[in-house]
């Protein structure tokens, strides 16, 4: 263990600069609910911690031209208190609000959840289903990439040295659109997802699904999109036959592992069940009738 240098810059640019020039191991601190656990367990031994919570741009939820921009330092509890956001993106909000206890909710952030790069991150399948984008500030300026391009594998991201995610952008929400997220955990709270599913739908006339995205968590090295499940939905009204196809497509897409949280068999089976149930919820939220 070494002496940790703690910095709390007030602009994203400065945070990026500190991270870029850091020697040794440097970590960004948003909510800290993963970082401090890793420090405690001795998995990491930072030389530098850059706290982004004193940066105003990371601290707000804004709506510009119908698009929500959620700062990287916004604790997940704040999402549930934003009525407009809940109405537009109930699935994203419920996913973020499922992370940990009330104590964790007061600290954890969606960007932290994303950058921790766990395949079981709760908010990520919902963000991927929602076509969310990450706004990145780095030594070479700003860039915006789809959320699914951030995580490259368990614990690894595509971010380059000095790059800092400043915010998450959600697209404009049209009519008759809704999303939903479900996860499976053994208890009622406090667990990491054994598997999970996020579904985002837009309906047309007569409840026919116009657009669909289905993403699964904890069934592969990263959160995965399941285009076959989306295809099973598009152009249909939701019924048991369609749902069975969604579940089957999800099961085929699963490539999970056996570990302390679940078996291959269980994850595969239940991911299909969750996708089916999440699709049903999203469909009803979007105004579809079963």
């Amino acid at each position: 263990m070494t002496q940790v240098n703690y910095k709390a810059p007030t602009t994203t640019k400065e945070a990026s600069r500190l991270m870029a020039k850091a020697k040794g191991s440097a970590f960004l601190l948003a909510g800290g609910t993963d970082l401090l656990v890793r420090m405690k367990s001795g998995l990491i031994d930072p030389d530098l911690i850059v706290d982004i919570k004193r940066i105003p741009a990371t601290q707000s939820i804004k709506k510009n031209d119908g698009k929500y921009v959620i700062g990287a330092g916004v604790p997940c509890v704040a999402l549930g208190k934003n009525k407009g956001l809940v109405k537009a993106w109930p699935g994203v909000v419920e996913a973020a609000n499922l992370i940990g206890s009330d104590q964790i909710q007061g600290r954890c952030t969606m960007v932290g959840n994303l950058c921790n790069a766990s395949p079981a991150a709760d908010s990520v399948p919902a963000l991927v289903a929602a076509r969310a984008k990450a706004v990145i500030v780095g030594p070479k300026g700003r860039r915006t990439i789809p959320v699914e391009k951030v995580v490259t594998g368990p614990g690894t991201t595509s971010l380059k040295k000095g790059e800092v995610i400043e915010s998450i952008k959600l697209p404009e929400r049209g009519a008759r659109s809704a999303d939903a997220y479900l996860r499976f955990i053994p208890r009622t709270e406090m667990d990491i997802a054994v598997c999970s599913a996020g579904v985002n739908l837009t309906l047309g006339a007569k409840g026919i699904i116009k657009q669909a995205r289905v993403a699964l968590g904890a069934v592969a090295p990263t959160v995965i999109l399941v285009p076959a499940a989306a295809r099973a939905l598009v152009g249909k009204q939701l019924d048991d036959a369609v749902l069975a196809k969604v579940a089957a497509a999800c099961e085929i897409a699963c490539a999970p592992i056996d570990d302390k949280r679940g078996t291959v068999e269980f994850r595969t089976e239940v991911a299909g069940v969750l996708a089916r149930r999440a699709a049903t919820i999203a469909y009803q939220r979007a105004g579809g009738k079963l």
């Binding site: 263990m1 269980f266 069940v273």
Partner: protein
């Protein structure tokens, strides 16, 4: 002092009421001091280096770099804790568990320790200690460890009655029972037989092990520690460190949960050895990961049960084979499993065989009614299988076969008055049994037994000049016993509850007290308190007689005052305890009562539980909807805390039944040493837990008290398994019934059914 301990039926003024506990304010304001809350001037921080291997030879430990690090004041290995046990193998096992000698026996086994000026330095020092290991083959599964080809955990162990030259992992085989089981099975019209497994669980107390140790070159030391038994800790630490018992003062801190896990010494001798080497106080606190990896969980088991009965439900033969692993050291866990397995029933022919088995896991410790829940899971599940096969109501079946007063227990002695029948009848009448169930919901019930324990106990009761009372006891208060003991002292003396203050004495202030285990706290210290109070009353009567200048024989104690008996003394008004106390400086000095007792005759305890669950057939997830505990308390001194014990035990049992388990990798390392993946129930997992206290007096206690702390963890495993079986039609034989296990069982059942219909 011997006194009559037999039960007398009496009216109580205070016993049975629910006053606020005396240590309450400290505990709701954050003032109460637990193991990690003490500090001493010049204190160092201790830290322990632990084996990353399940089983390994320790070839070399190089501590030189750590010793040179600035701020490091002591580094120790097993060389600093030499063997002073003089051939006492049980003590040597404790020593070896505290610090590995030539081999690391499990993932998490201590191999070296440091004391440094702060946490950062201590952790850095640990990283500078170089240990050269040679990995050895390991075994963590109880059934595998019993195979002939299994890696040997402790080469000196032999199976009793087995080959004296052949090392083995079976350290003990214990057989209990009576009658002729073969003849019994021959008579049986119905026979059921099933095998079960349970995984290892941890007591999961929220407070990690913590102590503050001071030991000087003069051999005098002090230890502040979270423990269930500071006298036992003192004796063991003194033996392992070569100290005189009187020179080590051990003070029990407030204890943040124990459930058996704090009856054992884990790292306290290490803290004392560090302090001795550094000649400064050392604070040593386990991390949660260390608690899971290196302090005793309960056994994982494998159990076979066979029951034979007549067609009308009378059990004519019962056998059980129970295999319990005790971690890397010999235990008594299989023996306790064999003793408890059939204790609920009146059986003509019964036999149980318990195997104690060593594996490469942490040393098993007592966990609340140790070994009984796993045995009950096997037996009580098989009871339901028998009921199904006969076509009989499972409660009826149990009532028909329940033990009663005079029944010869399967573990030997005849029973006195006991409560198993009464708990079953209460279950049968309970509205819970008639509540409606919905889709995918099921109800189960099961019974449980625990011996309870008494043991060595002593206490002092000192009366202050204002008539208030200090009661000093030596049994650690793990769940509210100070309130119960205050009630008992006040009841005996006839004074208000608030006038008594109970303190847990350190080891220098009282004679030896056995550890608070076996549900003995209120039973045994309650008994000692009654006798100490009566002892003080005798002295109060003498003082009153002296004041009145009459013979003490003519003085009675009534409602907190001395009363002169007989018409000739009718002119003498009563003297209250307070009046006598105020006069005490001039009537012979302080007034006190004492008692030393071996509190034999702890009454056995029985419980029957009812549980409703809902199972999601698509995910295997189980929700406990309703739970009812019926248990015999003998006499509930403070009913709130009796209910609390019932509820807490049930909640632990629910966790064990559904989600808690030690998960080992193929490498023999524990994969879930944290509260994230070792899943104890959270608040939203549980319903309110209803309780019904029965009071069938224990004939061997003046108030009829039985221990109440443990029995409540015995029935839940089977009660929930029976409920799940009724909800989704699958018989769960492996605990915990985690969602993957239930879903797999449902799928297998469905596959079996479709095969049957196809065939």
């Amino acid at each position: 002092m011997t006194a009559d301990t037999s039960y007398t039926d009496q009216e109580f003024e205070l016993v049975g009421t629910r006053p606020v506990r005396p240590d309450g304010i400290d505990k709701v304001t954050g003032r109460a001091r637990y193991g990690a809350d003490a500090s001493a001037p010049g204190q160092l921080v201790g830290a322990i280096l632990r084996s990353p291997h399940a089983h390994a030879k320790i070839k070399k430990i190089d501590t030189s770099k750590a010793e040179k690090l600035a701020g490091v004041k002591a580094v120790i290995t097993s060389a600093d804790l030499p063997d002073l046990t003089h051939g006492n193998r049980a003590s040597f096992d404790i020593l070896e568990n505290c610090m590995a000698r030539d081999r690391a026996l499990y993932d998490g086994h201590a191999v070296a320790a440091v004391a440094a000026i702060d946490q950062v330095t201590a952790r850095r020092a640990l990283s500078l200690i170089k240990v050269v290991y040679k990995k050895l083959p390991h075994v963590t599964d109880v059934d595998e460890a019993m195979q002939d080809s299994a890696p040997i955990v402790q080469p000196h162990i032999r199976t009793p009655g087995g080959d004296p030259d052949k090392p083995t992992n079976i350290s003990q085989i214990s057989t209990f029972g009576h009658g002729d089981v073969e003849a019994g099975f021959a008579k049986a019209e119905v026979i059921v037989e099933e095998s079960f497994k349970t995984e290892q669980t941890h007591q999961g107390y929220i407070e990690p092990h913590a102590c503050l140790a001071t030991l000087g070159p003069d051999g005098q030391g002090e230890l502040w520690v979270t423990t269930q038994g500071h006298y036992t800790f003192r004796n063991i630490c003194a033996e392992l460190l070569g100290l005189e018992v009187a020179n080590l003062k051990v003070t029990s801190s407030e204890i943040g949960g124990g459930f058996g896990g704090k009856t054992h010494v884990w790292m306290e001798p290490v803290a004392l050895a560090l302090s001795r080497k550094a000649n400064r106080p050392v604070k040593l606190v386990m991390s949660r990961e260390e608690v899971f990896r290196a302090s005793g969980p309960t056994s994982s088991t494998s159990v076979d049960v066979k029951l034979g009965a007549t067609a009308d439900g009378r059990i004519v033969a019962a056998t059980a084979t129970l295999r319990y692993q005790g971690g890397a050291f010999p235990g008594i866990w299989g023996m306790l499993g064999a003793m408890t397995s059939f204790a609920c029933y009146d059986l003509e022919n019964v036999k149980s065989i318990g195997y104690d088995v060593l594996v490469n896991r942490p040393k098993v410790a007592a966990y609340r009614a140790p070994s009984a829940p796993m045995a009950a899971f096997g037996v009580e599940s098989t009871m339901n299988l028998l009921a199904e096969k006969i076509g009989m109501d499972p409660v009826e079946l149990r009532i028909l076969n329940a033990a009663t007063e005079g029944t010869k227990a399967s573990y030997g002695p005849p029973y006195g008055p006991i409560g198993i029948g009464a708990t079953l009848e209460a279950v049968q009448k309970h509205p819970h049994m008639r509540a409606r169930l919905g889709k995918n919901q099921g109800r189960g019930m099961a019974c449980g037994f625990w011996f309870n324990f008494g043991g060595q106990t002593c206490c002092d009761l000192n009366i202050g000049v204002d008539g208030t009372v200090n009661l000093t006891v030596g049994t650690v208060d793990v769940g509210g016993s100070r309130a119960s003991l205050s009630l008992i002292a006040a009841e005996e003396l006839g004074i208000p509850y608030e006038k008594v203050r109970v303190t847990i004495g350190d080891t220098a202030s009282l004679g030896h007290n056995d550890t608070t285990e076996g549900s003995r706290g209120t039973f045994s210290s309650g008994m000692a308190t009654i006798f100490a109070a009566r002892n003080a009353i005798e002295e109060l009567k003498v003082r009153a007689a002296q004041t009145w200048e009459i013979d003490a024989k003519h003085v009675d104690w009534q409602n907190g005052q001395a009363v002169a008996r007989g018409i000739e003394h009718s002119n003498l008004g009563p003297l209250t305890l307070e009046e006598l106390a105020r006069k005490s400086p001039t009537t012979g000095g302080p007034i006190a009562g004492h008692n030393e007792v071996v509190a034999d005759g702890a009454g056995v305890s029985f419980a029957s539980h009812i549980c409703d669950v809902e199972v999601d057939p698509e995910t295997g997830s189980t929700k406990v909807l309703r739970y009812t505990v019926v248990q015999d308390a003998g006499k509930a001194i403070h009913p709130d805390y009796v209910e609390g014990q019932f509820q807490g035990g049930a909640a632990q049992g629910i966790g064990w039944a559904l989600n808690e388990e030690y998960i080992y990798g193929k490498d023999g390392r524990l994969q879930n040493p944290g509260f994230l993946d070792y899943r104890i129930p959270v608040c939203s997992d549980l319903p309110f837990i209803d309780t019904k206290i029965l009071e069938i007096p224990n004939p061997n206690h003046p108030y009829g008290i039985r221990g109440v702390g443990e029995t409540s963890i015995v029935p839940p495993l089977a009660a929930i398994a029976n409920a799940v079986s009724n909800a989704v039609g699958v018989r769960m034989k492996h605990i915990p019934m985690s969602p993957p296990r239930i879903l797999k069982a449902i799928k297998e059942q469905q596959a079996g059914e479709s095969q049957v219909s196809a065939g």
